[in-house]
């Protein structure tokens, strides 16, 4: 970091350029291509439709649609070509997280109340023997370009697509990433120095790109967009100091707020063009 700027010219708490284009998949009810810097993810939401195939274990109850979600990672998304099959760990994990997020968004009477930071405690509105479950929402996610923050981008894309698909959502969910270790410190250094933190030089980087993630790891925080910002999930793949967790989550939450504002604005803009919108 030279002169307080990162390699791509950003400051530690600056997000990359966000943009969202709607209607990219014409046969979908709602679709968008969400771009965060050089990471681009396309999401398409179809539904609700009558459920296809046999009843595969109740995951939705009477009035709430079941969610089918699939993530594909295009082989040309990274600088070095890499094929990620259906059983790839990253993809399976991402699919599960996205699926439970969408289910919570649709199941809004229950999910966002009293949820502890770790996950979805009350996502399970499982109808036992719910052969009445008749509708299903299909979500397809395609990762076109991956330059760090892929998980966050996926969440944001799915939220935008679901919102413009005219589904009844409880709240919007956005995500942001942050490096869990202050820049300039190796894990050992963080362990040694505790109070002697030099403000301005050692900082956690918000919305890291793939180069920064390969050096410092990434923590992805998912929160709701409403005034009372609630954490939906928090995921970190690398080691970090427990004291750093609070600062990291706070930094991320700030990023999520900015993204939330952007998402809201862009959805309102788009809906303003295609429908009449009233603000509550």
């Amino acid at each position: 970091m030279i002169g307080g700027l990162r390699q791509d010219g950003r400051r530690w708490k600056e997000l990359r350029r966000l943009s969202c284009e709607y209607g990219t998949v014409s046969s979908a009810d709602g679709s968008c291509t969400f771009t965060m810097g050089r990471t681009k993810v396309m999401a398409a939401v179809f539904g609700p439709q009558t459920r296809s195939g046999s009843n595969r274990g109740a995951s939705g109850s009477h009035s709430i649609p079941a969610v089918e979600l699939k993530v594909s990672w295009a082989p040309f998304a990274t600088q070095e070509r890499r094929e990620r099959g259906r059983t790839d760990r990253f993809i399976v994990e991402l699919e599960n997280m996205l699926k439970s997020t969408v289910e919570s968004m649709l199941n809004f009477t229950q999910s966002f109340q009293g949820g502890s930071g770790g996950g979805f405690g009350n996502n399970t509105v499982v109808g036992i023997g719910s052969s009445q479950s008749s509708s299903e929402v299909q979500v397809k996610v395609l990762i076109l370009e991956a330059d760090g923050g892929v998980r966050s981008c996926c969440f944001n894309a799915v939220t935008c697509a679901a919102a413009v698909a005219n589904l009844t959502l409880g709240d919007l969910v956005v995500a942001c990433g942050c490096t869990p270790r202050a820049f300039g410190k190796t894990l050992r250094e963080s362990q040694k120095t505790s109070d002697a933190m030099q403000v301005g030089t050692a900082r956690m980087l918000l919305d890291p790109n793939s180069l920064e993630i390969s050096k410092f790891g990434e923590l992805t925080l998912t929160t709701t967009v409403s005034g009372d910002q609630q954490v939906v999930s928090c995921l970190c793949d690398s080691k970090m100091q427990p004291e750093d967790l609070e600062e990291c989550v706070e930094t991320c939450a700030q990023g999520c707020k900015t993204i939330g504002n952007f998402v809201r604005k862009s959805i309102m803009e788009y809906m303003g063009k295609v429908a009449s919108v009233s603000m509550h």
Binding site: T24, S72, A74, F76, E145
Partner: protein, 288 residues
């Protein structure tokens, strides 16, 4: 001439849709108001994916297809020491509805499409030593016998409204035109080590080769209804049409390959007309 008797699989509901489609074809009016010989608007955008060496997005009506090319160095095939290699993959999961866990079905779908596209570039007969369409002047070789470029063409179908093969082949061709092959230097030594000759790749993004794509064919799919032929069919038309012929046509109208899918018989006279029509259409498309 009486229309061919309908096969037994046509259900009652299908029957009226089929009748609508076939009578439209006879009158030269299709569902969306086009004439039989009219194509939908084609939009080609190059360089859409930054991380790929070459990429393009093609939109034919509502059908949207993306193609990205990645480069890799590898050993050549034994009987073609100077020829590069081409691998094609097609991902249709975005455009097909998720029905249980029948992933195998779209994998198969994707593979079939990929094989068809691949045949445009690589001769099906592996034992022949004829170069593929990209290799006329051994464009893809790095060090003869040791190292050649392997092109990975990964296509993604974003939306399927018919004419998939056409759109895919156009996207592949456009990305080949967009492709940048980095310049390299082969260290000339009399001794060649076990891992092959030393090759240095020029990292400068502004120095690159582009491929000569004049021999690259494009697919033109034509549906046949009795004595009429339809270009560029939409998804609905494709499901109702009993005979579809796909031609791989290079610039200059030369037909490279034909694939036929259909259940009814087509008269010989019609076939001749269709072949000519495909050739003309291919010529036009290759100008893009």
């Amino acid at each position: 001439q009486q229309p061919a008797p309908r096969p037994s699989w046509v259900s009652v509901m299908m029957a009226s849709a089929l009748e609508y489609f076939e009578s439209g074809a006879r009158e030269n009016v299709r569902e969306d108001g086009r004439e039989n010989c009219m194509f939908r608007t084609v939009v080609v955008e190059r360089g859409v994916v930054e991380s790929a060496a070459g990429s393009a997005q093609v939109q034919v009506g509502d059908t949207k297809v993306l193609c990205g090319i990645s480069l890799e160095m590898c050993n050549p095939v034994e009987n073609k020491p100077k020829s590069g290699l081409v691998e094609v993959s097609v991902d249709v999961s975005m455009a097909r509805s998720i029905a249980g866990s029948s992933w195998k079905e779209y994998d198969k779908d994707g593979e079939e499409l990929a094989n068809q596209i691949k045949r445009l570039y690589v001769n099906g007969d592996e034992s022949s030593s004829e170069p593929g369409t990209l290799d006329r002047d051994n464009d893809l070789s790095i060090a003869e016998g040791q190292s050649v470029w392997l092109l990975h063409m990964d296509c993604v179908v974003v939306n399927d409204d018919g004419s998939l093969l056409d759109a895919l082949s156009m996207a592949c061709r456009a990305s080949l035109l967009d492709l940048r092959i980095p310049k390299f230097e082969v260290l000339e030594t009399s001794e060649v080590g076990p891992s092959g000759p030393d090759i240095t790749i020029d990292e400068d993004p502004n120095s690159f080769w582009t491929l000569d794509c004049s021999a690259v064919p494009v697919i033109v799919s034509i549906g046949i209804v009795e004595r009429n032929w339809l270009f560029d069919m939409s998804k609905r038309e494709e499901t109702l049409c009993r005979n579809v012929l796909s031609f791989g046509v290079a610039s200059g109208g030369v037909i490279k390959q034909v694939k036929s899918m259909g259940s009814a018989n087509v008269s010989y006279k019609v076939m001749n007309n269709v072949i000519e029509a495909a050739s003309l259409a291919g010529k036009k498309r290759n100008v893009l």
